[in-house]
Subunit: 147 residues, 2 copies
DNA sequence: AAGGTAGTTGACGTTAACGTAAACGTCAAT
DNA sequence: ATTGACGTTTACGTTAACGTCAACTACCTT
């Protein structure tokens, strides 16, 4: 029996795999984000549940609230729904995409700031007299772009 | 007198410009993220305060907590500090950069998911009989990758 | 049978990031 | 001089996303 490719998982299995607590998984179920099967009282997570959890957690890392994630999951189920809702679904979806692209720009800017900062102070050297960091060229304190 | 390039701002000025409440600015001050000058009791924000606020808000959009933003701002002031702290500062800074790059990857994946979803349902057409959305080619319901 | 491990359901506690209301000061305009 | 727009501090309220018990069940294992 191969243990690596199970098709069902206990709550602890998923919790440890994704580095969250069991409480978190129960919480997501309370919020309607997950709906694992039951064997008696005990939750039994399928492969689909596992994928869905990974998706949820990625959404969380990206900064979405559980409510937003819930709405996005709802969008997917609207995809095969009535035609009248198609346009609304598409608009919301595209809005999300635009927001994410804006956020990506913010992240790139922040990365650029931090990298420039790293580059600046990485070449500095302690001053003989004061012990403070100065430029090895000019002997003067660095010009740091402080926000 | 040109109103566009002021060198001082009221709390309301900045609040409206950045679309936050005055309460938020006071909160940031309580947390030590801002330290505007005072004219009597009244806060007077400088151009530097304004830039700093923009930086803070970008950090917030990126998903940082106020505490994390505070730490990052502290990094910058450590930049011209003692040599002994330089290495620590650099490591923290690079860690931040790596985290941000990972987050950017997550965002890109999410964007890809959403765009694929958009592409899929955008070409669908309502079925004559059921009214449900189906492929114009096959007449069958679409294959949507549901997380 | 006793203990250990893993599961369950309440239900209250916690933290961050503000919201909100009270109670008050200060000018400029009506 | 009173209204109104803007500012202040103090302090309690709120929401999200869980943490943290308690009290219980079920199933092995020794």
């Amino acid at each position: 029996m191969n243990e690596d490719f199970k098709d069902t998982y206990s709550i602890k299995d998923l919790a440890t795999e994704f580095n969250v607590t069991a409480r978190t998984l129960r919480h997501y179920e309370e919020q309607g984000l997950l709906a694992p099967a039951r064997s008696g009282q005990t939750r039994v997570y399928s492969q689909a549940d596992r994928i869905r959890l990974a998706w949820i957690l990625r959404g969380r890392r990206v900064g979405f609230s559980l409510n937003e994630i819930s709405e996005m999951l709802a969008l997917y189920s609207l995809g095969d729904g009535r035609a009248t809702q198609r346009q609304v679904t598409l608009e919301k979806c595209r809005q999300r995409i635009d927001d994410l692209k804006a956020q990506r720009d913010d992240i790139n800017s922040t990365i650029a700031d931090l990298e420039e900062f790293c580059d600046t102070i990485e070449i500095l050297v302690p001053c003989q007299k004061t012990g403070k960091l100065v430029s090895p060229e000019t002997g003067k304190p660095p010009v740091i772009k402080t926000p």
